[in-house]
Amino acid sequence: MRIGVVTFPGSNSDVDALNALAVAGVEPVSLWHESPDLHGVAGVILPGGFAYGDYLRAGVIARFSPVMRGVSDFAAKGGLVLGICNGFQVLAESRLVPGALLRNRSLRFASKIVAIKPQRLDSPFTHRSTGAPLHIPIAHGEGCYYADDATLDDIERNGQILWRYVRSDGTPALDPDDPANPNGSLRAIAGVCNTAGNVAGLMPHPERMSESILGSDDGMQLIRSFVDSAKAWETGR
């Protein structure tokens, strides 16, 4: 089975996604931004980085690239798409997932290990999670999740909030000023999915905590969930 990782000019965490997929034992395929052809992959990762430099606003140019046409079509057919960090920003700009990512509340880039907790264990992106918080890094300047109250209520009701930043006792860091909420995200939202549940994005980097030598392999719970679901989806077709 093959999983695609998109490389936009300026993507830099594509190497981390490719590495984590190799750890998961699947064949990673690099997808170039200029072609909408996804080469028959069973799932797509939009990686972290600064696509097209992100000088205007994170993800805003990448959404117009040819590969995103392919990704949108793929998602519409039920294919699994995971956006990590800049990839999440691209998905949000593309309206493939709800909400927007604003500048961090601190107005500074934030790089640290955070704790996020899966909010449901029956989604394609979380079903192999233990349910305990994952300790994985963030590295972003624009990761403050924002949506209007109606949207927030909607996605909460629909179970579209997949991960929340949590405190050391496991409770969500709902206060935007809580130190466990690293960017001031509303309702402590670290990652969400679309209504169909096959497109998800999150700001933290599970693919960078893929091996114990790097501190932990917590991130592989998420990557393996995604890979297994992609495998099942491909088999089901």
Binding site: S111, I113, I213, S216
Partner: protein, 801 residues
């Protein structure tokens, strides 16, 4: 205001052109000698940047030649863009440190950002993929508004560039010292990894080959950066110099990295050089001189970002993110294809020639490689006159009239325990040191840097040396920067030795073997004999230390003229070390790991508190001196710890440096979330034992059953050692015993109590918040979630405000 950007700063009285460009009258005579005629404006501009201190090392070259540069596995060294050392498995590591001090003082964000961009280009120009950045930053008073402005801008600049380009910033330094008040230091080290077969040099071989320029277009930014800005003392925040600062585009650099490495990997280019200081003048003349060729440049073919640029501006522009490469004509279409795929402008700008000259024409070059009929030659200079044969100044070196000598080993102990007030609790001194601007947690800084992109980071910033695994092997690279300006101000020879000793020790205590040293020498105006003497002494000290410790110097950078109207900086030898750990599973870190482990001190203390953090806090006896260094003992200590770690005897290891033994142990406790119960024998002064910074010491922890073997091994290396006690609890207790402890010391007027006893939570609080308090910034949140390397324990989490 366009005049301001097109011309060098206009002096009050009209001066001859050469002086406006920073060329002395004597140098002008030498230029006439090289050319056999008067230079024209373009040629003079080219000489001015190439003969600048920054590009020519005209003052420091005779000194640098004395450094030991040979060593095992060295593939490239001084004179190349970066040092390259083999690490086995067909791989090699490229690394170098460089300064961007004056640009950062003028325009902090762009100055620091382009400092990162410049050093990264030095790495990938060698064929290596950049895998890490370390930033060594030095400022004046942290409470001063201008310092705060510089810190904020420079930290944002380093992060803004490194984060975007996708290279993790994994370590460095942040030091405050009054001498940097008007002249901050921004030294950036970069590390790259390459397959040996990828190594490529900055040459322009093969007459007839094409010379291509790719990357960003050429504009008026950074005109005179090397000559006017980097090679002269400068006044505080002179706005007229802002146009001499380059502007960085990390997105363009990211594309340049990918395109350059693809060109090298596919062997489409014969040689490649980045455009940094001195712009196209420097890249073309160095590439030609190295290959023994010449280059004919077609000025009209150089893509500009603005109209109306004079030839001399094009030739010395320091616009960023540009590369000059040589390729065979038949490979040019493929070179074009690669650049275009990455969206990078590329232009065929010249040919490699046989005449050894850099010749510049307007009016184009024909397909025969000769200037078109009617083309105008606007400059012609022998490449070597600009580079290897540039002027050298043998400067006068004079020691200052009054200076302190380091005490000879074995001189009688004197008590220097002037704690601030009588009866002061050493625990309070320890907390004050841990909360001081130079020793407190650097979290506020490094949390603004992506530390883990590329999935190699084994040891995150904050706890000593950076550790990066080498994918596909069991190996890891260990890297650190250290520079001791406080002792250098008193004794530049000793200060440089101490800097090398500390940097190598920081690598050795992880179990790694230092394989190469890069250095950034930040000194004052070399035309002042006293400043030049400091540089001379530092190079001598660095060389002696490298020879004894067996570490080759693989390259570096000299930054002179670090002076401002308020004075000169303290001499600052910034040392970057890369070490190799053969088996990353044997990596040892500083934090205590296990309750009940034994704590062993290896090495012995010497008198002298001058230059220490304690002296800065508590004041100093007037005739005190820095502690001495015995390089043989330092070498023995480092061999000992690598051997002990290799035998699997060591659970944790930490070197004793800033703040002394008490701070070193406190860090092991805080970072491990474990206390300790210790007894420390005091012969002379408690302040020296607890807070003195004599070198060649380390604190390790081990299983109790291994302590005798470790002490025996230490004796075999001729080192003193003592088992101080054990790890455990939630307090740090150090009981002082022996003739120097309270009873006897009190009679001599000692002011130190007989024990240091403090809750870790209090130390942690001081350490966590010290920097943010000093800078007046929002304190970074205390760790609310466990860091994978510092598991959350009740004592380690820090106290909320």
């Amino acid at each position: 205001m366009s005049d301001m950007t097109t011309n060098p700063p206009a002096p009050a009285q009209p001066e001859p052109l050469h002086r406006q460009l920073g060329v002395t009258d004597g140098e002008l005579d030498a230029i006439r000698g090289k050319l056999g005629r008067d230079p024209n404006h373009t040629e003079l501009a080219m000489f001015s940047v190439m003969w600048s201190e920054h590009c020519s090392y005209k003052s420091s070259k005779p000194l640098l030649k004395t450094l030991p540069t040979r060593g095992h596995g060295i593939m490239a060294g001084p004179g190349d863009n970066a040092g390259v050392v083999r690490i086995g498995d067909g791989l090699a590591v490229a690394f170098k440190i460089e300064s961007h001090n004056h640009p950062s003082a003028v325009e902090p964000y762009q100055g620091a950002a382009t400092g990162v961009g410049g050093i990264l280009r030095d790495i990938f120009t060698m064929g290596a993929r950049p895998i890490a950045v370390l930033d060594a930053l030095r400022f004046g008073d942290p409470t001063d508004p201008r310092t705060r402005h510089l810190v904020d801008g420079i930290v944002r600049g380093v992060g803004g560039y490194g984060n975007c380009v996708g290279v993790p910033t994994v370590g460095g330094e942040l030091v405050f010292d009054p001498s940097y008040q008007g002249n901050p230091l921004v030294n950036v080290m970069a590390i790259g990894l390459l397959e040996e077969r990828m190594l490529i040099l900055a040459e322009a071989p093969g007459p007839g080959n094409y010379v291509v320029l790719f990357g960003s277009t050429t504009g008026r930014d950074g005109i005179g950066g090397a000559s006017v800005l980097a090679s002269a003392t400068f006044a505080d925040s002179d706005p007229n110099k802002r146009p001499t600062v380059q502007v960085g585009d990390p997105f363009a650099e990211k594309l340049l990295i990918e395109a350059s490495l693809e060109l090298i990997d596919r062997r489409l280019v014969e040689g490649i050089q980045d455009l940094g200081a001195g712009g196209i003048s420097c890249a073309s003349s160095e590439s030609a001189d190295k290959a023994g060729t010449g280059i004919l440049l077609d000025l009209d073919a150089i893509p500009r970002r603005e109209p109306g640029m004079a030839p001399w501006e094009v030739m010395i522009s320091e616009s960023q993110e540009r590369m000059l490469a040589t390729c065979r004509p038949e490979n040019y279409p493929a070179v074009r294809e690669v650049c275009e795929r990455w969206g990078i402008p590329i232009a065929l700008v010249g040919r490699v020639t046989t005449d050894g000259d850099i010749a510049i024409v307007e009016g184009g070059i024909g397909i025969d490689g000769l200037p078109n009929p009617g083309a105008l030659e606007i400059a012609r200079i022998a490449a070597k006159a600009l580079t290897s044969d540039a002027i050298i100044h043998y400067r006068l070196a004079t020691p200052p009239a009054r200076r302190r000598q380091a005490p000879a080993p074995g001189i009688p102990l004197t008590a220097q325990d002037g704690l601030p007030e009588r009866g002061m609790d050493p625990a309070a001194v320890l907390a004050a040191l841990l909360g001081s601007p130079n020793l407190s947690s650097r979290r506020w800084v490094y949390e603004q840097y992506d530390a883990c992109v590329q999935s190699n980071t084994v040891e995150w910033p904050g706890h000593g040396a950076a550790v990066l695994r080498v994918k596909g092997t069991k190996k890891a690279l260990v890297a650190t920067t250290d520079g001791n300006q406080a002792v250098s101000a008193l004794d530049p020879y000793l200060g440089a030795q101490l800097s090398v000793a500390e940097a190598t020790r920081n690598v050795s205590i992880t179990g790694a073997r230092p394989i190469g040293l890069t250095n950034c020498l930040n000194y004052g105006n070399p035309e002042r004999p006293e400043a030049f003497w400091q540089l001379q002494e530092a190079v001598r000290g660095m060389g002696d230390a490298c020879r004894t410790l067996g570490v080759p110097v693989t390259g570096g950078n000299v930054s002179l003229y670090n002076e401002y109207p308020g004075g000169a900086i303290s001499p600052t030898p910034e040392i970057g070390i890369v070490g190799l750990l053969d088996d990353v599973s044997l990596l040892v870190r500083p934090p205590f790991t296990t309750e009940g482990d034994s704590v062993v001190l290896v090495g012995s203390s010497a008198p002298g508190l001058a230059g220490s953090a304690y002296a800065a806090l508590a004041g100093l006896a007037s005739e005190d001196a820095p502690p001495s260094l015995d390089l043989d003992r330092e070498a023995a200590l480092q061999s000992f710890i690598r051997e002990a770690i290799g035998r699997g005897l060591v659970a944790s290891a930490q070197d004793v440096s800033g703040g002394g033994l008490a701070v070193a142990i406190a860090e092991c406790c805080m970072w491990g979330g474990l206390g300790a119960n210790l007894r420390l024998g005091v012969l002379g002064s408690p302040a020296i034992e607890l807070f003195g910074e004599s070198p060649s010491r380390l604190v390790l922890s081990c299983r109790p059953r291994h302590a005798p073997a470790i002490e025996l091994l230490a004796r075999q290396f001729g080192l003193a050692s003592a088992t101080l006690g054990s790890v455990g609890g939630d307090r740090l207790r150090i009981e002082l015993t022996g003739q120097g402890a309270t009873g006897a010391a009190e009679e001599r007027g000692s002011r130190v109590a007989d024990a240091l006893d403090v809750a870790l939570v209090d130390l942690r609080h001081a350490w966590d918040h010290g920097l943010a308090r000093a800078l007046g910034v929002e304190p970074s949140a205390a760790e609310s979630n466990p860091d994978p390397h510092a598991p959350d324990r009740p004592d380690a989490s820090g106290r909320a405000d």
